[in-house]
């Protein structure tokens, strides 16, 4: 069955430190991959997406993600986090004939001063 896994439920990093949030997918073929961010009380904002081509994609707010086919992964990174990055981050995918998004369980990011 198609699935998206985010192994880390909760991560705390210090402000200014680097960040990597993990995402693995299980699909028959390479799906379209997305990262969304949800700030408290807010909706889902698209950070970045990967369809094909360059495996390192840049997004908004200084985020980037790298697609690794061999590891079925699409990890999100940021070189230096800011307190405003505290939020929940969702990896999602769709593929094949359907465009319904399948979401991971989310990773809640806390930033400590």
């Amino acid at each position: 069955a198609q699935s998206v896994t985010q192994p880390d439920i909760h991560i705390t990093v210090s402000e200014g430190a680097s960040l990597e949030l993990r995402c693995n997918y299980s699909y028959g073929a390479t799906p379209y991959l997305f990262w969304y961010v949800q700030s408290p009380g807010q909706g889902l904002q698209l950070l970045l997406k990967y369809f094909s081509g360059d495996t390192l994609v840049q997004g908004i707010k200084g985020f980037e993600a790298e697609f690794k086919r061999s590891q079925s992964s699409f990890n999100l990174r940021k070189p230096s986090v800011h307190w405003s990055d505290a939020a929940e981050y969702f990896c999602a995918a769709h593929g094949g004939a359907t465009n319904k998004l399948i979401f991971g369980t989310g990773t809640l990011l806390a930033i400590q001063p």
Binding site: Y36, G43, F51, N99, L101, G104, T105, G106
Partner: protein, 111 residues
């Protein structure tokens, strides 16, 4: 920048009552979706809609749920007789090419 809007932002209802959640998708988008997120759980697909028809629905989307595009701008989700377990955040999304853009959500609480 155009965005998806949803109303109301919060709704409290009694079990067994009907609710209608409203969405205004981005104006030139043709594909529309509803998702829900029960507190503490992952975001789940409910239904997709294109050309005035449901194109796909999940097992969650039973006979108590319906969707409609009553005019050129609104896209609604109706829950006919709410249950306690319908309490969740409901997100509308519209799609351009392969990317879905989400609204801010409606938090539904069924008492």
């Amino acid at each position: 920048e155009p965005e998806v809007t949803q109303t109301p932002s919060h709704q409290v209802t009694q079990m067994g009552q009907e609710v209608i959640l409203r969405c205004v998708p981005i104006s030139n988008h043709l594909y529309f979706y509803w998702y829900r997120q029960i507190l503490g759980q992952k975001v789940e697909f409910l239904v997709s809609f294109y050309n005035n028809e449901i194109s796909e629905k999940s097992e969650i989307f039973d006979d108590q749920f319906s969707v409609e595009r009553p005019d050129g701008s609104n896209f609604t989700l109706k829950i006919r007789s709410t249950k306690l377990e319908d309490s969740a955040m409901y997100f509308c999304a519209s799609r351009q090419k392969e990317t879905q853009y989400f609204g801010p959500g409606t938090r539904l609480l069924v008492l």
